[in-house]
Structure formats: structure tokens, C-alpha cells
Symmetry: C2
Subunit: 369 residues, 2 copies
């Protein structure tokens, strides 16, 4: 029987969750993964300066974090040359997406995204009673023109796009994204998820324009900065929209140690260069492994690579299951035809050696059905 104290919306929500964690799979298997290259975590870790700052701050965790995130907001402001009042900080892009959906979407409101794009965004849209309208990927890219056409048709509160894209790793140029921003219909907001932007080539991110009320940009310390477990991300947007987050966010919701680590991390851009270089090497190695197995990789502007397994989703699923059973944590897209691929994060040399060893076996198993 449904608990009569739940709201009708809460009562209607499914028990499904966006992602199963690798630890759950490890507990089920009774052993740890050899290679943790499934969640696009940055295995090269945070800046040593950030690690040191977090270590040094551990004993002071009895203090609540500054609810204004002042130091971090100013460090981000300095890094991007954007005023602090155009920056909202919270515990990861997931939290920012949840707050943004809560601020804008109520029962019956529409939201446009791509079929197969970030599931946690969809989780939040459903969680606030919004109606998801999807368009397909085009040639393994999210399709800006189709998203805008659909938005003009259905009048959504939000239009979501990730650039570079997750789960495919593909990207559009700044010009294409800027044209998309310029075409956002009145009454809609473009949610531009740039979680992977630090890995992308120059010319992928449009210039930041904090006067543009049509777009909100999301950035994170979880990927290039190597701090996924710290839960720090930020939104850049027009002042009034950014101010609205204060009406609903948990003002004391940030981990204090993470705040301090993130300040140190953003001030060490040399480390980001180092990470970029190591990720580049890893991407090349993944492509080489794929080629040696007769497979093709999609081009990637992220810290992961989608490998086209060359058949359908059921086949890729068998490849993935065999890899997971062999101790290699990888994931795959959920929607056809994207799900002909598996998604492999840029691992350490030892991660990728393990992957190199297991991929041919997994392919053989999958081919054997």
C-alpha cells in the first residue's frame, strides 16, 4: 500500500536509480575491480596541492563550511574573469541540476534533451513532475538543430545539452553551440553541461557571457580536477538566475574540506595541463587497443572513449558483461544506436594493460554468444 503521506508525485516515482556504483558490483562479485575505468573518474587524481590542502583541513572539519562559498566563488571568479554573483556553487553538477529543475519545472512542464543523454538530469526532471521530450543523436553527436527545433515546437522550460557529450565523447565547436544559444526560444533556458570542457580542444566553449539570460553553464571539479568524491561544481549564469539558487539550496550543504581543496585545485592549472596530457596518452592507448581488436573508437574530447563494438546493443552488452566479470569496470550508453559502444575512461597504464588483456577475451566470449 502506498504511504498516504507521500505526495502524489513522490508516490508515482519509480524506485529505479540513475546509476549503479562500482562498489555495488564489487560486493556482488566478492572482489574488487582490477581497473576502475567506468565512471569517467580522473584516475590521475587531484593536484597534489589540493590533496595537501584537504589533508591539512581534515582536523578542522568540526566547522561548518562558509555558506557563501566566498573563497571558492572568488577563486572561480578570478579564474574565469566572471563576477562572483554570476557563480552558484553546490555539491556537484547533479545537485545543481536538481536545484535548477526544481526552480523551473513543475507538473506538466516540458524539458527537451537527447535520447541517451545524461540520465541523472532525467531523474531530476521526473522527480519534479516534468515531462521529458527527446530527440535522437545524429551521427553519435547530440543534435543542436534538432534540440532547438523540438524546443520551438513544445516550449520547454529547459533544453539540455552536454558539450563535450557524455556518453559518446563527441563535441561541437563553440560556433555551433553559440548558434544554439542564439536560437533558444523565449521562455526556455539552455542548460549547457560542460563537465568535460577542460579536456576539449580550444574553440569548444563559447565565450562566457554573464549577461545572456538564455543559457546556464555547468562546470565541475569532478573530472579534470580529479575530485569526483569531493562534490564541488558550479554554475555560471545571469545574475538573477544565479541568485534564485539561494532560495532553495542547502546553504550549509558544502563539505568544508572540499571547498578548501577546490580553491587549491583551481589555482594549480599546471596540474590540469598534466592531467590533459596523461588523458591524451590514455585515449591514444585505448584507440590502439581497440584497433588491435578490429574495433573503431569515436573521436573524444573527454577523459573517456566510446568504442564501437561493431554490432548491436545486445552484443556490446555481452562484451561489457564479460569485461565486468573479468574485473574491468566499464559502462555503456543506454539507447540504440549509441549502445553499440562501450565507454572506457582514460585509465592509468596499468588500468589499460588490464583492459588490453581482457578485451579480446571479452569479444571472443561475446561472439560466442
Amino acid at each position: 500500500m502506498t504511504d498516504p503521506r507521500l505526495t502524489p508525485l513522490a508516490a508515482s516515482l519509480p524506485a529505479t536509480v540513475p546509476f549503479v556504483g562500482p562498489e555495488t558490483q564489487e560486493r556482488a562479485a566478492g572482489r574488487a575491480f582490477t581497473a576502475r575505468i567506468g565512471a569517467n573518474e580522473n584516475v590521475f587524481g587531484p593536484s597534489p596541492r589540493a590533496i595537501h590542502a584537504m589533508e591539512a583541513a581534515s582536523a578542522e572539519v568540526w566547522k561548518y563550511a562558509d555558506p557563501e562559498n566566498f573563497d571558492l566563488r572568488h577563486a572561480i571568479s578570478h579564474h574565469h574573469g566572471v563576477p562572483p554573483e554570476n557563480i552558484a556553487i553546490d555539491a556537484g553538477i547533479d545537485t545543481l541540476l536538481g536545484l535548477l529543475v526544481r526552480l523551473t519545472v513543475t507538473a506538466g512542464d516540458k524539458v527537451v534533451t537527447s535520447a541517451g543523454a545524461y540520465p541523472t538530469f532525467n531523474f531530476h526532471v521526473a522527480g519534479f513532475g516534468g515531462e521529458l521530450v527527446t530527440v535522437p543523436y545524429a551521427d553519435d553527436h547530440e543534435d543542436p538543430a534538432a534540440l532547438i527545433t523540438k524546443a520551438v515546437e513544445v516550449g520547454p522550460k529547459l533544453i539540455y545539452i552536454a558539450n563535450p557529450d557524455n556518453p559518446m565523447g563527441t563535441w561541437h565547436s563553440a560556433e555551433v553551440i553559440q548558434r544554439m544559444i542564439d536560437a533558444v526560444p523565449a521562455g526556455s533556458l539552455l542548460v549547457l553541461d560542460e563537465a568535460y570542457i577542460e579536456f576539449a580542444p580550444e574553440g569548444t566553449a563559447p565565450a562566457l557571457d554573464v549577461h545572456d539570460t538564455r543559457v546556464i553553464r555547468l562546470r565541475t571539479f569532478s573530472k579534470a580536477y580529479g575530485m569526483a568524491g569531493a562534490r564541488v561544481a558550479y554554475a555560471i549564469g545571469a545574475r538573477d538566475l544565479i541568485a534564485a539558487f539561494d532560495r532553495v539550496r542547502n546553504h550549509f550543504g558544502m563539505n568544508r574540506t572540499a571547498q578548501i581543496g577546490a580553491v587549491a585545485a583551481i589555482q594549480d592549472q599546471g596540474w590540469i595541463d598534466h592531467v590533459r596530457s596523461r588523458v591524451g596518452v590514455a585515449r591514444d592507448k585505448i584507440a590502439e587497443i581497440a584497433a588491435a581488436n578490429g574495433l573503431v573508437c569515436l573521436p573524444s574530447a573527454t577523459n573517456f572513449v566510446a568504442i564501437d563494438c561493431g554490432q548491436d546493443g545486445a552484443f556490446a552488452r555481452r562484451v561489457l558483461d564479460a569485461l565486468v566479470a573479468a574485473g574491468i569496470f566499464v559502462r555503456m550508453p543506454s539507447v540504440a544506436p549509441l549502445n553499440r559502444c562501450i565507454r572506457v575512461s582514460a585509465g592509468t597504464p596499468s588500468d589499460l594493460d588490464a583492459f588490453e588483456l581482457e578485451l579480446p577475451k571479452a569479444l571472443a566470449k561475446a561472439r560466442a554468444g
Copy 2:
């Protein structure tokens, strides 16, 4: 002009926030507080074992936290003798309250609490469109009988009580609270906030009964465990209610280092005994300081003490303002007649020396008008 993309509810919310942080006051004053004894933080800090565990985990913060919080959930389960499926973990009681309100309260739903009780709960109720119905404190205690009477009258989704209470530090016996649980009307849920329970005398917490669907209990690592900045708290309740959190929570929302620290912290109950003892000494010292200034303290089962300044709220505000101007961070209740008090956290000897020095001057200033 209001942003037409905001929901009507979001557009209607005020820009006010529950609490201003001490850092904001420090920035305004241009200097750090001498004594940080206003937010009921535990100045004695977390267990050295927890600090060590967090330091050791800092370099691994590139990994997302386990979304099932398995290790921590099992450590809490072991500590309380409660099955893991009756425990929901999230980033502080504030986050759990927000999720609980979201799950249960929609436009027009009523919620019963005490006038002057925890403002962040009220922030969430307003944030989801609920209607707050309050009853007064009775003799500086929350009034279980009045809360239940009001609940029977208005049929709220939630009834909130903190035991021990914040901001007054007073408490009820387990028998009184159990009678309250037994009297919760059908269709209502009692939110029993036990953030300070580890400081209370034996016999303050009713036995945990995970089959009782009428109550949800909230516990935190922010107070006795000294980890406010880590953002870890948990709810104990009936299985279906606990499971409902999974429908809306940020599954990857926890800080991984905090998770690891909390496991170490709950396994070091010797440290909690140590903290309790130091808090006891500090409460006695605060009472002694108050008495030396002709003031009376309320009895406290928490790590803070409400000092009755002996006049009205305007007077207590002047005392508080003078203390803050002198570098002593303290807070005060917001509602008459509670606001005749200032609220002082159990500080270190040096914190309380500073308070002892400044209180007589602050009283003199306040008396001079």
C-alpha cells in the same frame, strides 16, 4: 521582472536565508572571531581516528563515493542494532529534512512545528509550498501535547520536534516523547530531530522501533562527532519510508572522504565519551560565567547553553551585538519570549575565557542602551 521560466512557487519564495555564517560576519568586520561559539559546532573536533582516516583518503577523492553508502550504513546499523534498510544517509540533517519535505509536502499541505524551532526546516517547508502552523514553546520547552493537539486539529503531513531542543537546549524524557509518538494522528509523520541526543542524559531517547511508521528519527555527525563541515547525517525509520528517499536523493551526493571519516568516527565511541565530558565542563563554565554576571542559564542537554539575559529580546540583541563586535560569535533565538536569551556553544577554555572577559562589557553596553 520575474523570470517567466521560474515555477510560480520558486518565483514566490523570498531571498532570505536561514542563517548567516560567521565567515560573512568576519568579512564584514574585517577580522576573525576570537571565539567561534555561535553555531553549536563541536570545538573539540572529530575523533583522531576519523581525522586520520580522512587525511589518508584525501588522495583518493578522484573516486565517487559509494552511492549506497554501504560501509557507513552498516557501521551505523551495527552501532544502533538497526537493519541497514532502515537507515537513510545524506549530506547533513538539512539535506534529509529537505528530501523528507519534498517527499511529503506539496502546495497546501500543512506542517506543525514550534514557533522559534529550527529555521532550516521551515525554509524547506516554504520551499515546497507547505503551510507552516506553529504552537508556542511552553516554559522554554517545545510542547509535545500542544504540537499533537494542533496536529489533530489541522491534519499536517509532518510534525517537527527536536529533542533535545535547539535553540533552547531543553529536553523531554523518552516517556514524554514516546507518548507523543503514540499520539501522532493517522496521515501525519513525526520528525524527531535528535541532532544533539548524544549530549543528553540517559533516558532522553525513546527506544528505536523500526516498525513504527509514525516517526522518523534524525541523527548527525555534525555535533557530538565533531564533523559539521563533513556533511553526514542519517535518518532511521520504517523501511518503506526510508526506501522512498532513494526516489529523490542525489545518489552520488555524498563526499567520499566524509563517508570514510564517519565510519571511523562512529567506531570510536571512546571519543564521544571524551567530548561529552569536555562539553559538560564547558556548560558548567558557561553557567558560572552567567552567574558571575547575575544571569541564569537554562538547563541544557546539548553542547550549548541558553543564557537568559533577564530582559526582552531587544536587550538580548544588544548583548549579542556587543559580543559579536568584540569578536565573540554567538547566536540567539528568533522568537519571543525565547529571544530574551543568547545561545552560547560549549567552547574550549580559551573560547570561554574570551567570553568571560567580554560578557560583562557587553551587558554594560546593552544596559547603557
